[in-house]
Assembly symmetry: C2
Homo-oligomer: 233 residues x 2
Amino acid sequence: MTTPGRGLHGHVLDTLGPAITAGEYPPGSVLRTDELAQQFDVSRSVMREAVRVLESMHLVESRRRVGVTVRPKSEWNVYDPQVIRWRLAGADRPHQLRSLTVLRSAVEPVAAGLAAKNATAQQCAELTECALGMVANSRGHRLEQYLFHDVAFHRVILNASGNEMFARLGDVVAEVLTGRTHHEVMFEDPDPAAVTLHVKLAEAVREGDAARAEELTREITVGALQELDILAP
Amino acid sequence: MTTPGRGLHGHVLDTLGPAITAGEYPPGSVLRTDELAQQFDVSRSVMREAVRVLESMHLVESRRRVGVTVRPKSEWNVYDPQVIRWRLAGADRPHQLRSLTVLRSAVEPVAAGLAAKNATAQQCAELTECALGMVANSRGHRLEQYLFHDVAFHRVILNASGNEMFARLGDVVAEVLTGRTHHEVMFEDPDPAAVTLHVKLAEAVREGDAARAEELTREITVGALQELDILAP
DNA sequence: TGTGACAAATAAGTCTGACTTTTTGTTCCC
DNA sequence: GGGAACAAAAAGTCAGACTTATTTGTCACA
């Protein structure tokens, strides 16, 4: 998604970040900058920059004479895309996936309602195109192409809502949908009912029917939640 | 809220962050690390750490031979509490406040519904206590005390939902509520209807009535949205 | 005229070592 | 036992030298 490992400090983050978010260092653990620098075979300046980034994510806290202490999970910036990616790649992936899907179920219906009111003609066209793409790839194990249009569809909805907080959840939704297709058991073709819902949703948005758009999206997200319950009850 | 200006690099951030989020440097602007270091009268290492943090917030991008370029608003990590605070302190505060209130209106009802199912006895007690505190301070210009209980109330709801993504929005809600009381025109006592809604909500959660909790919260957030429309139509 | 390779300039990236500051824990004295 | 002085530890800061990637410009050649 984003460029990984840009520079030495990026490489350090790619290792330390996942380790911390995976709970490899329990909260309260104390790390020393110099020690870490040796372990990763980088200079102190590089390690300091990495620590600063982890600190800005509220994963750790750096204090004089003490060291770099790992913060409890409840204080992490769990909306940071980087943190989300690290956690999705780790052990509590199922738990994380559920949290995010619940978030989707709260946000997307409201976003769809707003999109019905605010979407431009251009966005309506894109939406219909995405829905068409989903239909066209809904059978015959064309999961990859289906996913592509599914992600694009939800991105357009979130953007069309006109709310920047919603729009920025596009990446999160993309991660969740991609994760579902790639990592979870999903050999079968997508649920035809879900495909229909997307087509109808594109329609509702185009017609400016906010209430219907909201309700349809609610059905879509309920489906996503049920899917999780089936896979990991 | 969080400790401001910890160390030199923190001080730099406290100046640069607000400046960038306020649009003082339009997207695409190029900054030079050395130049900034001189301006702020700090060493290059300190400035580099600051830039790294801004980079992790996706406010800027650092590239060799080019410099530190400011990214477009659409790429910022708008869920970063620090970024939220900077923007709330800046010029587009009204716009930001609206975005966040819309987010609340999407998330809180669902969170309340979950809270009704998952809240512990302890949390139910806290909720009732907060509601009582709101009632007790709803008249006689005791805005500060009222705010305190209001913030605590919503935090408990979000925590009790059992969803960590919701729980982490507690700070955001606190900022919005605090901002409303302190910065917006709010000389009058809070709307009695809103107070009643909170009392009823505490009741619904205690009784485990998810549907009612959700509906009551929807009414609360609708009220918050209307309030914004009245203040800045 | 266009194009490709090569060279120069530039700004970030990295490393090192010396020094400062804050915090904590200990010890010693009243 | 409590408080003040002291010592140690780790992060914080700085300055300077060096490396590397990227861009831009130039020049020769087709």
